[in-house]
Symmetry: C2
Subunit: 257 residues, 2 copies
């Protein structure tokens, strides 16, 4: 029998506010068994960019990453957010190790080809080195992964954190019983975005498509759920969309095959 | 017999200029045997601070690190400089892993007590986890260490890169035959700072004290050499102060017991 591994992805809003970060980390520490954290940091990047007079351009919720923006996300995701999370986890006796995809070549990617949009230095994940990650995890090291990968030619690439979480979950599924949780500031996928108690308790792919067609599910939730369905179909045991305050509950939206 | 480990420390000026960085990395890649890189990044931190309207205050060449400056060095050292070095080394088929002291708790420190000067969030190294580092090195992973440590209470601390190199060399001396190289833009310790061919080929502690008294050695070179003598007296096989272009030569200033 494989051991359980909980992969938790938290968005920028959660890690950038002291109160929500504290709630998240308290929950994370008490998750039993092996674990891995993937974080965002977009809001801090946007804030630093504004201070530096660099414009943040987004297309479909994805950041256009020119050279100045790449420097900013490398600093914010790989430095500020990642290292503060690692230091805070160490203080809670979790043996955290901050990683980008470049570190030990854990995630390599290819720069997204220019089609309608030139996203710049944005990476599409090519390969996750599951052997190295599972070796670390089996030594009770907790990888804390920043949304940055590399192209193997010397360049860091900005990479969507939801995708990193999904691809990492898929790659580790042969080694562990993987539970993947997408945590954000809402209690799950909502039927009515203004109504926190309208959580959809479970969702299969045809229901998802139906809700997208009805525009009940929209925006950034669509690629997040696409990642979730890819993961559940690739051998991940459970995928849950939930709040950062509820990672030890059974609430949230459970994704079904 | 122990295997040889070369620990190379490079200063900000070298890593922040594309040409000198390229020369350094080409040399680093061809160093035979096990290796570890420690980097600075002070000039980039000062530049970013200026852009953000944060004043850089230095006392005896050491940076006063208030909360804003801590954010800046965490971004620049832990993110920008570290991750770009890692990505460049990976492209040269060196299996680099970027680390701060917080990662896997490799270097813990205590915040420097306030005496004449309040340095703020600056750490004095307390413990280097040589077991974890030697385990990585023996797997042909090349640690790339940023000048940041942590206090075990959730805070990153700004820590002098020369000290990190010296303390890491000392801690690893029981496991490897350690050669410690301090690389910078000059060819060694100079008798005349304006004359690159005035390198002092070797130096023992009494000669060093004599040259300090004569003001031939001054400024930032004094703490660098203090670290060098501490290392050589603590079991490090060789300590060399040399240029980033000469890490495979026998030039530079060799420190004697």
């Amino acid at each position: 029998m494989k051991e359980r591994l909980t992969i938790i992805k938290v968005g920028g809003k959660v890690v950038e506010d002291d109160t929500s970060l504290h709630l998240l980390l308290s929950g994370f520490v008490s998750v039993p068994g092996k674990k891995l954290l993937v974080h965002g940091g977009g809001r801090s990047a946007t804030k630093l960019a504004a201070k530096l007079g660099v414009e943040s351009k987004m297309v479909d919720g994805r950041r256009i990453t020119d050279e100045s923006m790449l420097e900013i996300v490398t600093m914010v995701y790989g430095g500020l957010v990642n290292k503060n999370l690692v230091a805070k986890l160490q203080a809670m006796h979790v043996n955290a190790l901050g990683l980008t995809g470049a570190d030990m070549n854990v995630i390599s990617s290819v720069q997204r080809p220019v089609k309608d949009v030139d996203y710049g230095f944005v990476g599409d994940v090519e390969k996750v080195d599951a052997a190295i990650l599972s070796d670390l995890i089996n030594k009770n090291i907790v990888p804390v992964m920043a949304p940055l990968t590399h192209d193997g030619k010397g360049h860091i690439l900005n990479t969507n954190a939801d995708t990193i979480a999904g691809e990492t979950a898929k790659a580790l599924a042969p080694f562990f019983d993987v539970v993947l949780m997408y945590c954000f500031e809402k209690p799950g996928v909502l039927r009515d975005e203004n109504e926190d108690n309208s959580v959809i308790p479970s969702l299969d792919y045809s229901e998802f498509q139906h809700l997208v067609a009805e525009k009940i599910i929209q925006g950034g939730m669509i690629p997040k759920l696409e990642n979730a369905f890819i993961a559940i179909n690739a051998g991940v045991c459970e995928v849950i969309i939930t709040s950062h305050t509820a990672i030890n509950d059974i609430d949230g939206t459970h994704i079904r095959k």
